[in-house]
């Protein structure tokens, strides 16, 4: 696999460094679909075509009638929205900004491995078929890097659906605009003008093949290194031109961007602890200059196998379903929407398959497990190495390949060096009694109610957890299955438990809900082959309780947090609460728990986990959304808690064989 990858940094140097790199002449293909002329529209042309489109004009008429304003007024508003949204792609400026970006990324990263041939091949595809990039989203670097790589491989640079928050800095916003970014609001609501313009703008790029479109199916940068649930709405907008026959086919290219170390990793950790999110202002970015002094290791960019939508959806969605609808009245039934959702999960699955499991992420899981084991939360090197090796062996027996770059020892040595800002080995790494210690990172105590002491411990623990999370896409299934194994032994009950847990933990570990039965069968098989369990008639016998327990502990904390959240909500009176109130109450409760029981780790203070827990309770009927807050339903919460008790309060008990 590695032979398909080239180091982009070496590539740039071969081309004479960043300056020469951006100056070199390049030829970008244009898309001329069968029976359509190749358009050579300028960003202005595109804007005009959107504003004059049937869809937008219709929305304007509707808007004018509803709000009792003139059509001209509606059009004026459209122009405002459009100007805020649209990109202003200018190749000459791309070269200028490209220089800065290239300079930065070649400085901060040691290696940027790319399967460039796969990207290059897209040039041919794009010549007659629209292309959509769907990358993972972990950092701002994602789209900058993707565009630079396209530039290198002479693939037409994409128009990028970016979140509005970049616009907080006018200058940066304008620069990104000229590089092809367009900006979308997070919540569109029922603004019919916005909706029409946005839909038309995205679709016209695809239909006319102006440039590839890049969008982040997770909606936002994942702060936890885990995939976020796919956004179905935008996906539907993207696929619509195919479904209604405007275009013959389109090609979706999932892209996985894996980082040894994410530039924003500390920022995320603070943010997850409930610090106000630093705005993306220019001054913030300039402060980021200190980043240039650090090293962020390796990036691995994998362009996935292009997915022809015609081939992929051809078997599930019949376009003929829509033909009785006029083009102007487009609606999709629940059945088709379900297929679109399944496609979203298919992309996420592709992302998973292209994300390798690093030795370091396993090592981080070991450190977390050992930290919660030890009374004083200290971890000894010897224990750490032993557990890490054991875990790697265990995963191998489950046919999960851990990607070892050189040797486990060398990988770890390199990683400790790279991550020395938040974790260190005190003493000789070869001495089994040396202690692995998390760095206490600086905290501005004024901005939070939680004690500075606690927070500074929590920050690095959260960073550590995020590193461990980067392999949770393969570990969550065995871990949840292990949780189920600890509470039931008949195969039917086991499946029921597994499915229940999967649903309860959906927000944390995204998977395709429609595929859960197959998933269960596969995991039973791999546990059996690994010798961890044995099936006898209708029951399942655990053969190796130690490993099952270790695995189960990777996801169990999330159940504990759910349970804490329920406790907190049950104590509230009157029965109304907002999400942020609940989050901070839960944080306090968890700190108390941590004081009594050191196995409850401070990483659980992460607002992300608490919000997920809150959302899950909402979905399970324990809460009900009102205009300003949520009402609490104690009875449902109580029932849910009872179910949860099976898994949380009986840790470590031998399974009933």
């Amino acid at each position: 696999m590695d032979t398909d990858y080239v180091d982009f940094i070496k590539e740039i140097n071969k081309q004479g460094g960043p300056f020469q790199f951006v100056r070199n002449a390049r030829e970008f293909p244009t898309c001329s679909q069968f029976g359509r002329k190749a358009t050579n529209r300028s960003p202005k042309d595109i804007i005009e075509s959107v504003l004059n489109s049937d869809k937008v004009m219709e929305a304007v008429r509707q808007y004018a009638a509803q709000n009792n304003v003139s059509v001209a007024e509606g059009q004026k508003q459209c122009r405002n929205i459009m100007e805020q949204m649209a990109h202003d792609f200018t190749l000459s400026n791309v070269r200028i900004f490209g220089y800065i970006i290239t300079k930065v990324i070649t400085t901060v990263f040691d290696e940027i491995l790319v399967n460039a041939k796969q990207l290059r091949a897209l040039r041919e595809t794009f010549k007659d078929t629209p292309v959509i990039f769907i990358p993972t989203h972990r950092t701002y670097i994602d789209f900058l890097l993707l565009s630079v790589l396209c530039f290198d491989q002479e693939m037409t640079l994409p128009a990028i659906a970016a979140a509005m928050d970049f616009m907080n800095s006018k200058m940066i916003g304008e620069i990104l605009r000229q590089c092809g970014a367009f900006f979308i609001r997070r919540a569109v609501g029922d603004d019919i003008l916005y909706w029409a313009i946005f839909t038309e703008y995205v679709q016209t790029h695809i239909v006319e093949g102006d440039r590839p479109v890049e969008f982040f199916i997770e909606g936002t940068r994942s702060r936890t290194n885990k995939s976020l649930p796919p956004k179905y709405g935008l996906l539907q907008i993207l696929l619509e031109p195919y479904l209604r026959g405007n275009i013959y086919d389109m090609v979706v290219v999932p892209v996985a961007m894996n980082y040894d170390k994410i530039l924003e990793e500390q920022l995320y950790a603070y943010e997850l602890l409930g610090f106000p999110k630093p705005k993306e202002s220019t001054s913030g970015l300039l402060k980021a200059r200190s980043i240039l002094d650090k090293s962020f290791g390796r990036v691995q960019v994998t362009f996935g196998k292009p997915i022809s939508i015609r081939e992929h959806l051809g078997v599930s969605i019949k376009r003929a379903t829509f033909v009785c609808q006029p083009d102007s009245q487009w609606k999709m039934s629940e059945v088709e929407k379900r297929h679109i959702r399944a496609f979203g999960h298919h992309i996420i699955k592709n992302h998973y398959e292209m994300s390798s499991v690093s030795v370091w992420s396993i090592a981080c899981s070991s450190i977390i497990l050992l930290t919660s084991d030890a009374k004083d939360n200290t971890v000894k090197c010897g224990d750490f190495l032993k557990l890490t090796h054991n875990l790697i062996d265990l995963l191998r027996s489950l046919e999960i390949q851990v990607h070892i770059r050189k040797t486990v020892a060398q990988d770890l040595e390199r990683a400790f060096k790279l991550h020395s800002d938040f974790i260190t080995i005190e003493g000789d790494a070869k001495d089994p009694n040396s202690i692995i210690r998390l760095t206490e990172l600086k905290v501005d105590g004024k901005k939070t109610k939680i004690s500075k002491d606690i927070l500074s411990q929590a920050v690095s623990l959260i960073i550590l957890t995020n590193h461990a999370n980067s392999s949770m896409h393969v570990l969550s299934t065995p871990s949840i299955f292990s949780l189920a194994l600890l509470s039931s032994s008949s195969i039917d009950k086991l499946k029921e438990c597994y499915k229940w847990l999967r649903t309860v933990l959906y927000s944390e570990f995204v998977h395709d809900p429609l595929d859960v039965d197959n998933e269960f069968d596969r995991i039973v098989q791999s546990f059996t082959l690994a010798g961890l369990i044995e099936s006898k008639e209708e029951s399942v016998i655990v053969k190796d309780i130690n490993y099952i327990e270790i695995l189960s502990r990777l996801t169990k904390p999330y159940l504990l947090i759910l349970s804490v959240m329920i406790d907190v909500l049950m104590d509230v009176s009157p029965l109304h609460i907002t999400m942020s109130e609940a989050t901070s109450l839960a944080q306090n409760r968890l700190i108390q728990l941590h004081d009594r029981d050191s196995s409850v780790l401070l990483s659980s203070l992460s607002a992300d986990i608490l919000k997920n827990a809150f959302t899950t309770l909402d979905q399970r009927g324990g809460l009900q959304k009102l205009a300003r807050n949520y009402s609490i339903h104690p009875e449902q919460l109580n029932n849910f808690k009872k179910q949860l008790t099976t898994y949380v309060e009986l840790p470590g008990r031998s399974s009933k064989i």
Binding site: F34, G35, G245, Y248, R319, A320, V323
Partner: protein
């Protein structure tokens, strides 16, 4: 056995010479565009060499026919000719293969009474009847089901070719169903009338055939399709004759059984006599042509014409490939194409008007009516065309373009000698989906061709051929050279079937006027739904309980025993 029948109504191969000079340049075009090569020819077998299965014999039925003095024949060539229509598959079978099942007997009724007697005898002796008119089906409509164990009797309507009467007061004409279109039209012309129905197949297809397949004519804009022209019909079924006891311009008497007879494709009975509307011959008939910069402009022009309802008798839009093909084929003196390429008019179009030779499309039109009416129509039409960047291309081009369609079937015969397989198929589609459908279907044909290893270029072309208030009819032509292909017939069928799937996915219909036959049965279910199918089955069962009309078209006949 005496056979009084001339084969005047059955198209034979190699008659393209009737198209005269137009055709003399087909060969160079073939060589250039479809890999035609004089060193690689695949001539067909002689018709006499085509193997004909031995006829099954139902002696009591033959005896009964003879007893009442009906003409019949079981000569192999008579049976073979009535075993097929005009699809690519039929032509391939004739040229290089043989049919698994052909009629065992051909019978020629001379009157409605004869038809009734034959149907009664068939019911009495359990013989299958497949009615045949001109044999121009392009849907395997007259083909015999291969697994039919009973004797199959082809009921050839050729002798029922008389005009019964012309009604000048009401402008109606009643004729026997077997009359050939061009004969009927000639006869009406002689009396100063026209029936206005002009399908591409008019030289061979019959009045009865038009009704039983829901035919459409090129001048339907002025005169209407066959369902608009039909006023009265006699229909012989296994249960007896269906006919209305009045001949009125319109009637409200529950669901109209005419709509069941129209398009019944020989599955329920035999059409024997038809009354249709006729029209005084137009004072003026004028051709016209227009050129548009691309198909988008051509279609938007059509849309406006349809919205304003000012379409002339015929209006059709050919895409760029067909336009270029048509022009290249007449490289002789009258060709404007060669001249065009080097002439001022080209400079005018390509430089000044911004037309591109590989994008421009052409529209041909036929105006019919009184002189001032035609003048007005012409003016209105050209004015609208101007708004869509259309340029008037002259009458000669219009006439040529209009007539080229008649020649297409002959072109195929010639092309087949060079190993070219080709076919046309059609659909109807709402206006907002016309362009998407044309583009996607052609794209699919090109991609499927490449996928199946077609190497020598493809004819892949369409024309928008009829306008309606809410949509249009679209015709596709596709062809490719079979050189280097292992199983060209399979390739051909795979492409055709995928193209129909694509048509339906893009909002087109199963057929605008070719009908279902056996070729398009697979799409009937999704088109009308299971309840409609069972209703059709029930009607069929009621009219033909023994399934005598077992050509197996449209739907599978319900088992009568259930």
């Amino acid at each position: 056995m005496a056979n009084p029948i001339q084969q005047h109504n059955v198209p034979t191969s190699y008659r393209y010479e009737i198209c005269g000079s137009t055709m003399s340049h087909i060969r160079p075009w073939l060589e250039k565009n479809l890999g035609g090569d004089v060193n690689w020819k695949v001539p067909g077998q002689n018709r006499a060499d085509c193997k004909v299965p031995t006829a099954l014999v139902n002696q009591p039925f033959i005896d009964a026919l003879r007893a009442v003095g009906l003409s019949y024949s079981n000569a192999p060539d008579h049976r073979l000719v009535r075993a097929h229509g005009q699809t690519m598959h039929d032509m391939m079978m004739l040229r290089y293969g043989s049919f698994k099942r052909v009629p065992d007997l051909v019978v020629w009724p001379r009157s409605e009474h004869d038809v009734t007697r034959i149907v009664d005898l068939a019911n009495a002796h359990d013989v299958v009847i497949i009615p045949i008119g001109g044999g121009t089906s392009v849907s395997h409509g007259v083909e015999c089901p291969a697994d039919e164990p009973r004797v199959i009797c082809s009921l050839d309507m050729a002798l029922m070719d008389k005009i019964v009467w012309i009604d000048r007061a009401n402008l109606l004409c009643r004729a026997e169903a077997g009359i050939v279109g061009s004969v009927l039209e000639k006869a009406l012309n002689d009396e100063g009338y026209t029936c206005g129905h002009e399908p591409d197949s008019i030289e061979f297809s019959t009045l009865g055939g038009w009704v039983s397949t829901r035919a459409s004519g090129m001048k339907k804009n002025k005169y209407g399709n066959i369902e608009d022209l039909l006023v009265h019909v006699n229909f012989v079924t296994s249960r007896g004759l269906i006919q209305k006891q009045c001949q009125v311009p319109r009637i409200s008497c529950g669901p109209d059984l005419h709509q069941v007879i129209l398009g019944s494709e020989g599955t329920m009975g035999v059409i024997t006599e038809v009354t249709i509307k006729i029209f005084p011959l137009p004072e003026v008939k004028r051709y016209g042509s227009l050129v548009f910069p691309d198909i988008d402009h051509g279609v938007s022009f059509f849309r406006e014409v349809a919205a304003k309802r000012c379409q002339p008798a015929s209006l059709r839009l050919v895409d760029n490939q067909q336009f270029v093909m048509g022009q290249s084929m007449k490289l002789d003196d009258q060709s404007i194409w060669e001249k065009f390429k080097s002439s001022l008019s080209k400079v005018y179009l390509t430089s000044w008007k911004g037309f591109k030779i590989d994008e421009m499309v052409a529209v041909t039109c036929v105006f019919e009516g009184a002189a001032d009416e035609v003048d007005f129509q012409e003016r209105t039409l050209y004015e609208i065309a101007g708004r869509h960047k259309g340029i008037v291309g002259g009458e000669a081009n219009g006439r040529y373009g209009y007539r080229l369609t008649f020649a297409i079937a002959y072109l195929r015969d010639l092309a087949m000698d060079f190993g070219v397989l080709g076919e046309s198929f059609e659909t109807s589609v709402p206006w907002d989906k016309v362009l998407n459908l044309c583009r996607n279907v052609k794209n699919l044909i090109a991609k499927e061709g490449a996928k199946h290893g077609v190497q020598f270029g493809m004819l892949n072309s369409c024309r928008v051929t009829q306008v309606y208030d809410s949509g249009a009819a679209v015709y596709f032509y596709f062809g490719f050279n079979s050189r280097g292909l292992k199983d060209p017939m399979h390739v051909y069928e795979a492409i055709e079937s995928a193209a129909r799937d694509e048509i339906i996915a893009c909002g087109g219909s199963i057929s605008h006027h070719h009908g279902i036959g056996k070729l398009r049965k697979a799409w009937v279910d999704t088109t009308v739904g299971p309840i409609a199918i069972s209703v059709m089955g029930a009607i069929k069962n009621e009219l033909d309980p023994k399934n005598i009309f077992a050509n197996n078209n449209i739907i599978d006949a319900p088992s009568s025993k259930l």
